[in-house]
């Protein structure tokens, strides 16, 4: 199927969905409105809300805050995950000692940490960053750990026979291998950074997309909730697109699914 007709079909799905939503929430069927506006709002109101946010410019501040929190969470979480993952993989004793604790912390649903972080770090951006970090860290950590552990024995021996020192093995073998594993989880970890930020905002903050949604919900402004959700998904899709670009640039050496670059 050509790109154009695929795009047309994709658009069609959106249009059908929106039209159905609009009809069912405004036109009575057998004397009854199937999607009561109080619970479901309608596309026109939602669009109106979104336009208002962008025209007045209030949305930029919230988007900016959420973006900032996500980026910080991603960077700090990844950095920590790479460093600790590397350390654990190269020091099996350390890994063995900390193993139960790592599992314990990872098993914890992160939402319960939000109040603690809010208490420790206040209601500003850092409590949200911390929540995102706890999510991103483990994904990156496990991937890097795996990546260093699973370096091909032959490639390592080859490096040694070519005369690589420990430092050179680190740079030319362990590091690229670990990075490739980290990048393979890039979409997930970036997604979780945003989740951490938004959930944190939702649970207590004064700015950000999560805050916007929570505020609307507080006054039963369903149009506002939906508008926030749409802006949020568009935001995540944009970030994901950026990640795909970065990935393509960095992982050129990796075979794609069909076996050809």
């Amino acid at each position: 199927m050509s790109r154009v007709s695929l795009l047309a079909l994709q658009l069609l799905v959106a249009i059908v969905g929106i039209v159905l939503w609009q009809l069912l929430s405004t036109v009575p069927v057998f004397g009854k409105i199937l999607l009561p506006p109080f619970f479901f709002s309608n596309p026109v109101d939602v669009l109106d809300q979104i336009v208002k946010w962008f025209v007045s410019g209030v949305i930029w501040k919230h988007l900016g805050i959420t973006l900032m929190e996500s980026i910080l969470a991603f960077v700090i979480g990844s950095l920590g995950g790479v460093l600790i993952g590397f350390w654990f993989a190269r020091q099996p004793l350390v890994a063995a000692v900390f193993d139960p604790y790592v599992k314990m912390v990872n098993a914890l649903p992160r939402v319960v940490l939000a109040p603690i972080f809010a208490l420790w770090l206040g209601l500003g951006i850092w409590s949200k960053v911390a929540l995102g970090v706890t999510l991103v860290f483990f994904i990156v950590f496990f991937n890097v750990y795996q990546g260093v552990k699973e370096v091909s024995r032959t490639v390592l021996d080859n490096g040694r026979m070519l005369g690589m020192s420990e430092g050179q093995l680190m740079r030319h073998v362990y590091w690229p291998s670990a990075l490739s594993w980290m990048f393979s989880s890039l979409h997930t970890s970036v997604g979780f950074a945003v989740v951490g930020a938004v959930v944190g905002e939702y649970l207590g903050s004064a700015a950000g997309l999560g805050y916007l949604i929570q505020q609307a919900e507080g006054v039963f402004d369903v149009a506002g909730v939906f508008a926030g959700m749409f802006v949020l998904s568009a935001f995540v899709i944009l970030i994901d697109f950026g990640v795909t670009l970065v990935e393509r640039r960095l992982l050129v050496w990796r075979p794609t699914v069909d076996g050809r670059g």
Binding site: S152, V155, D157, N158, R160, S180, W253, P255
Partner: protein, 272 residues
């Protein structure tokens, strides 16, 4: 012989401790020498420890008893005079063909700007001049072997250790690679220790063919000199009368070991 000895394994014994504490002896009292400029092939049935012996010569494994001498000096740690061509893919998948070859020099401290043209030269000499920018996954199995060969040779090692390097390739590609190897080797005649399970390949390539018995506790049970004239062409040499006579003679010894090795491997599988 007046030429110096490049590799000397003296009564080398290799043993591994198994998971349950028992000791498994892979190779028993192997005595093997490779003179400078000599091409020696080790042939043996599957699981006879021929790769193990190669790893001992490389310094990747320490012998449990006996000694390893490289150019008359005892080997401590890795064998720095040797280049090793692995059976499995050993290229760095995140480097292009060119970078994979250049790394051999860069490790040594050669500046990148200086290493790259040399790497390009080596890629050209293995017939891959036009593939410098490809990553390993974009190359065929045979092409990857060529890159690996260039990666090893660019460092100009005095000894070449090869562990069934052409094993994973199809029959025709193996012969082409064999000829390429002989051409490159002819230029400066390094000492070569070449492990294979293919007797024909061994005779076609080597100056000496060494036969190992079936494992465990395998030992060297035969040593034949191949006097076929050089330079050789692998396609041609197989038609030679002397080749056939030698093949028949060695095979009569090797056959029993192959059957023994086969029986042992099936037996071991039953025990497990």
């Amino acid at each position: 012989m007046t030429t110096p000895t490049a590799v000397a394994l003296e009564d080398a014994k290799v043993a591994f401790r198994l998971g349950d504490g028992r000791v498994y002896t892979a190779v028993e009292k192997a005595h093997l020498t490779v003179a400078q400029g000599e091409f020696v092939a080790i042939v043996g049935p599957t699981g006879c420890g021929k790769s193990t012996l190669l790893n001992v010569a490389a310094g990747l494994l320490k012998p449990a008893a006996g000694s390893v001498r490289i150019f008359d000096r005892p080997l401590a740690g890795l064998n720095r005079d040797a280049g090793y061509l692995f059976q499995a893919d050993a290229l760095f998948p995140w480097k292009t063909a060119l970078d994979n070859v250049a790394i051999g020099l860069e490790i040594r401290g050669t500046a990148r700007a200086e290493a790259l043209p040399q790497a390009q030269k080596w890629l050209t000499s293995v017939g891959l001049g036009a593939f410098a920018g490809r990553y390993p996954h974009m190359l065929s199995g045979g092409q990857r072997k060529r890159v690996a060969l260039a990666q090893v040779l660019i460092r100009d090692p005095k000894i070449l250790l090869m562990d069934e390097p052409f094993g994973p390739l199809d029959a025709q590609t193996r012969q082409v690679m064999g000829n390429l190897l002989l051409d490159l080797w002819n230029a400066d005649r390094k000492a070569v220790l070449f492990v294979t399970h293919d007797l024909e390949e061994a005779i076609a390539l080597a100056d000496r063919v060494v036969i190992m018995s079936a494992g465990p506790s395998s030992r060297i049970i035969g040593d034949w000199r191949v006097t076929l004239p050089r330079p050789r062409d692998i396609f041609e040499v197989r038609l030679d009368k002397e080749f056939h006579a030698l093949h028949r003679e060695i095979w009569s010894v090797l056959k029993d070991e192959v059957m023994k090795g086969y029986a042992q491997s099936t037996h071991a599988a039953e025990a497990v």
